[in-house]
Symmetry: D2
Subunit: 466 residues, 4 copies
């Protein structure tokens, strides 16, 4: 197959009257970032080579020489003494040129029935598959940290907020379990993306397939793909798998940003609900009380670069005529950057959650301030006195105003005082006015009752942890 994409000077430069402009050497090569794909590139070449031998397209001697040469190259790169050259543009040409140096003419037979177009698509898919799996494991560890804290605080009462205003009491464990759900969906998206991406482009060649009697099933299988890609033109011009991953990564970043925002809030003196560990905060030499939540802020701020990476690749692909165009070289840096960003964000968050110290007293006090059990009072009026909910609301409004006027909590109001507003109230009402009771009564599936939270913890361990 031809080098459909730009080939390095040594290979195609002969008839060009002048060499590339200086600025071309600045804009064109990808070796500075695609060297990261070296292991995948070599694995792909070895699988391709083995298939060529099996199909009789390459003799086994050449095949053995190539495989050995590739192994040596992998070792060189791992050892850090591989002579990368920008003039050779990309990882594929660097490896192939080195192979020629190491084993001579046989190296030239490796590129039979393939091109750099299918080769790079294969490399990125292999890399992304491994990266997705690593990331999945890292998110699982984050879920584990959240679940452990949730179990510890299954009954720790805190104010449940809507509009950042206290609404109803919940438990800290219940709050954290909401994030376990979010990150569970993130893992589902990664798995779906991985499954959809797990098709092998190798053998699509430049764009049209090949006349060599290759066995694409074999190559696909050897590399752990589920199947070969069904259309050769699609195979070399598709970057959906990059974008779908970046979409999933954007949601991970968004979820992290919400939790990070909450940590910043909870750690501020306005809330003072938690203390972040030394390991994830920075201090000031002059204000020793200060623990700046740097890690949480960085995680929150890095959301932007993940969204940016998504937009970068979506923009790049917009309106691009088939098949391969050099524009597509711009897929890798945003992909690598976003993958690194969500990975470090997930791992830093895992550490912060695991190390978190919760001030249960402060949480409880905040839950009792406000009139967070007002809804419970209304529900009681509905259930015990048969009031329509809207009317119960009205009664509760008057009672809360009464308490507010007296400067007391609802639980501190006398029965007489409440009866002036609704004479049928009896002392059963006190059952629902304390925050612990309010929490304990919310036993509907998915509700915040400590027993529910413990059950949710158990189920989550089964659903999410290996």
């Amino acid at each position: 197959m031809s080098a459909e994409r730009s080939a390095a000077n040594p290979l195609w430069g002969g008839r060009f009257a002048t060499g590339p402009a200086e600025v071309m050497a600045e804009i064109n090569p990808s070796i500075d970032f695609d060297r990261r794909l070296y292991a995948e590139d070599i694995a792909g070449s070895k699988a391709h080579c083995a298939m060529l031998v099996a199909q009789g397209i390459l003799d086994s001697e050449d095949g053995a020489a190539i495989a050995a040469g590739l192994d040596e190259i992998a070792a060189e790169i791992t050892r850090g003494d591989f002579p990368f050259e920008r003039a050779l543009e990309d990882i594929h040409m660097n490896v192939e040129a080195r192979l020629a140096t190491l084993i001579g003419e046989a190296a030239g037979r490796l590129h039979t029935a393939r091109s750099r177009n299918d080769q790079v698509a294969t490399d990125v898919r292999l890399w992304l598959r491994a990266e997705s799996e690593r990331l999945d494991g890292q998110i699982e560890a984050l879920q584990a940290a959240l679940i452990d804290q949730a179990e510890r605080h299954a009954a720790t009462v805190m104010p449940g907020l809507t509009h950042l205003q206290p609404a109803q009491p919940v438990t800290f464990g219940h709050h954290l379990m909401a994030y376990v759900e979010m990150f569970g969906r993130d893992r589902g998206r990664l798995a779906d993306a991985r499954r959809r991406a797990n098709e092998c482009p190798l053998g699509a060649a430049a764009l049209a397939g090949t006349a060599f009697p290759i066995d694409r099933e074999r190559t696909a299988r050897a590399l752990g793909f589920d199947r070969p890609a069904a259309n050769s033109m699609d195979a070399v011009s598709d970057r959906d798998f990059v974008i779908e991953f970046l979409g999933a990564a954007s949601l991970i970043a968004m979820h992290l940003s919400r939790l990070a925002e909450e940590l910043v809030l909870w750690a501020s003196p306005g809330f003072a609900f938690v203390t972040l560990s030394d390991a994830f905060t920075t201090g000031s030499s002059i204000m020793p009380q200060k623990r700046n939540p740097d890690a949480a802020e960085l995680i929150r701020g890095k959301t932007g670069r993940v969204y940016g990476a998504l937009i970068a690749v979506l923009t790049m692909m917009k309106g691009l005529a088939m098949t391969f165009a050099k524009d597509m070289q711009e897929d890798k840096e945003p992909l690598f950057d976003a993958a690194d960003t969500v990975s470090v964000g997930v791992r830093a968050m895992t550490g912060m959650i695991a190390d978190l110290t919760v001030d249960a007293e402060a949480l409880r006090a905040a839950a009792e301030a406000g009139y967070a059990t007002a809804t419970d009072l209304a529900d009681w009026l509905v259930q015990h006195l048969g009031l329509p909910f809207r009317q119960a609301h009205h009664v509760v409004g008057r009672i809360v105003r009464l308490a507010e006027g007296k400067g007391v909590r609802l639980a501190d109001l006398s029965l007489e005082a409440m009866r002036e507003i609704e004479p049928r109230i009896d002392d059963g009402v006190y059952e629902v006015l304390a925050v612990e009771r309010a929490v304990a009564r919310r036993t509907s599936f998915g509700g915040t009752a400590p027993a529910n939270v413990r059950a949710a913890v158990a189920r989550a361990r089964e659903r999410f942890l290996r």
Copy 2:
């Protein structure tokens, strides 16, 4: 459950000294766009009501009155004579207020054990599920149109381009089948998103669940959900399903933009490969030869608004503390707009593809210009003379320069001329120099050979069409 989100003036305004500012009436209500959810809102209320009756929380008389009232409201809205009021802010309050007018006090019992927070989340999920299914069917129709054209043109040779330069001959059918793969992945993403979104928030109430003995499984089942959402706080503060859909929609828009770009190119005199039908072009009263590809251009241009909708909701959710915040009201307009945009784009594209007239002669002529079978010549040298591929490339380069110098096609070179460059060439070489032969020989799986394309068409019908 309380109206955790802003409730309309009549309900909560009593103690507010002044009414809302004039600008508040401009920024706050959502009824102008969320009325689109009326059918889902009513379906959700009916399922909730039936569950309350089944659980003994509501007596069956009230339940029947509520159900009948809701049916009447649905009929009113369908007929267009429902009295929407902006003062009632949203679809939920509009329906509930009307229900009170229609059936009196019993209406107040419907809002037991729920809030607008879980209600709106349920409505949007129901709407999105139906919309996804509609869209899936529309994309299927587009695939059908592509497959039909692909079958028709399984052997129509055209230049396969990389870098918008001719690389190797392919067939028009093969080209179109690449898009069938793209849209197939899009449908996969919609299906995955739909599955992940198909959990029922109802019963999460304001954020904490409820003390009423509700049966969330029953409500979920009644509304066609796979299960109730597992965590009440997540249930009311999650908008992943909106973003995941917008991500899938962005990829659909991107794929459409590529095909639209190709149609614009192919219809331009520079290429003149296809004629778009009257139905999808516009003319000029003065230049009757002109067929402006307006529909294709609009589809391409609308990519921006879908990407924009994705960024809108990702930005909105960034760094948002739990649980519900009014910011989330901003999810619906981008969702509706993006759904409408990809739907109209898919349907317009289906029509354009179905109506497309292909100029097979022009395609063939373009395929023969250039030296698109040079790769085939190189492959022949490898296969028949045993040259390493890189060396074969070199030989072919010289032969192409020779043809270029003489101003002829490769197939027009004499054997003698070629033998001056590589003496072992025999007349078997002409087998591979004609574009039809080049195409026919690419029989590797996924390759462009007409037989392959026909097989791909058959498989695609099975994989994608119902």
Copy 3:
């Protein structure tokens, strides 16, 4: 000039075998949104007509008939009884068709030496210019509200936060004046964008200019433009002015989102620094203490749709070959939406700021908690004892730990206690430990001292308010 863009069926449809597809009627017309440009369209036509008469291209009788007809149309639209037709696609064709009905054949002479391409570019520039000026006035009103509150609270001490942690005391007035600067820059960007956009495309015609002896200077002047656009192809294919406005709008939205976030925080019980007025909050019928900061949340959430609009138009223009393409029709909806969004956001914010009640006691108490004057102590050590700053930091760190251990504020430590750490400290140190003094001493230009804030208020009134 020709109708380079798609013309309506009646005008170009004759030779088209079939009418537009049904979906085409859905995707193609712009009249639903571009009718908003009617006043600009008519003003542009009147100026064009007057120029044609002045240049002798049109006789004055026809000119008078056209002008009268256009006035009548403007009146009809204003009255709401103009018969808009979707079949006529856009505002230009609707007006022109109606003109023909009203005045007959002469209507056909108006379109001499212009096309819809330069016409729509002119309309949007006129609209945007007026909108920018309106918005500038609205932001000025917001600045006025901020400045008034800043003056009122020039000396109201509050904690100055970095990382959402108390760092040094500042004043509430100083904090608000930071936003006055931000919005001042926003106005500067709007003014620059307006100036750059204020060139007249009229007379560029379809794309190439015209052979009619038109006077573009005259038309430009009549419409208040600074000059005619210098290149006819640029004039019809440029949408920079839309994007530059959307960029400026994105920064406005970002600034609003920061202030909105602070209002949400300050209004939450965790901070309780301010009370938002009834006019901009919503309540709950059951929790009368609740004032949900809906307006602030909506402003914050709407940031997304402004960023989305920016991305929409940037994406649409990416890689678009010259000159006009139908894609560009997609510029108007994002523009209108973003303009409306920042306008309502600015106005709602103005109301919220004007109505804001500040709890000075709560602010002061928060400023005294923490050890916000620790930096002042370090500065004192540098200034009075000559310690290098880094060493002073070290000493202060030990003193703060001492106070922390005793559970007192720095100002409550005895001189003896401090001298155990640094013997040279004298009682002059107390001058700097109280928050009022710390604030008052920061008199460097731009610093937080109340006198500075008052001076900044005076300067800001001169710089920003008319």
Copy 4:
């Protein structure tokens, strides 16, 4: 001033029980990218130091030692033997720690009356100012290349396209001059952004200003700023200048993407209007006729990363409470990347344009195909026969159909043939039917007539080139 932002372990770590987590060392330091600001950081420190001496805050001996030490550090970094340490987090701490090593205790006095918050804001503004100026010069060079080509091709006729369909003939020079306008606006935006950003944050200190008697005017002047920033809190929490630059860069990238798209089209065999030079294309060893327009494609594709950078910083700043937050550290990488990207894009484009070979024959032939002078015929009917424009359109439509039917150009129709449609036509009409004449007649200001283009070239040299 205190190290309000996270300070390195050695400085604030004393009371932290445990060191930073391993992942913290991965997420927190910025030295890997902010070392790029070293020259600006040192220049800022020297100006600050000189001001402290002038104000008597620092004695002149210490001042001299600090200045000498900073010079030595600058030299070390330039030579490449500065010992950067990630443990010291950022460029500021690296420089300061090294200064302490070089000159001892006096180093500790440099940080008087400033903090890293105002320091980093100053550094970035200085860097961006210089970068903007470099970029302005690079865009000027691109304009010069375009103007030179435009002059050369002021009369080279080509098809003027709308909807990628031929509309009216224009000249290649006129087409290129449209881009000169676009890039002229880009330079205007850079200049406006530079002017607005040119305020000095130094002396804002951590956030509140300082009690030291500093002279901010002096520091500002010494660093070439127009004035000190007016509000200390705004000074440390403002990143508008980054975003405004990224907005301007996005428009530059968009303009480049349009020109790049056109080059890709023009270089494709479908158009074959231009030949790109060897210096900016890549070849294929096997298809020597192939000149892949890699540089143009990369420029087009890189648009995405510039848009992505804009979204990254907009997202990062959304909803951020004042003042400094660690999130803001995320401003630098997108800024650097976007600046580098547009710079390399502008320079590569300059080379491509300068080297461009235009096939004037191919352009002329394409202009004559189609009926691009149909509009001229209509204008002639209006001007010479007094037909209303809409009626003239109708007549021309019939004439074009006639020519189409005969398969000839308009200029080839006999007078008799035309008179059958409109009897008053005389042979003056042929004046307007040839493409050169059509072009030459469009002499309205900004029109495509060669004389106009030459005048526009002369004006552009005066307006844009130094």
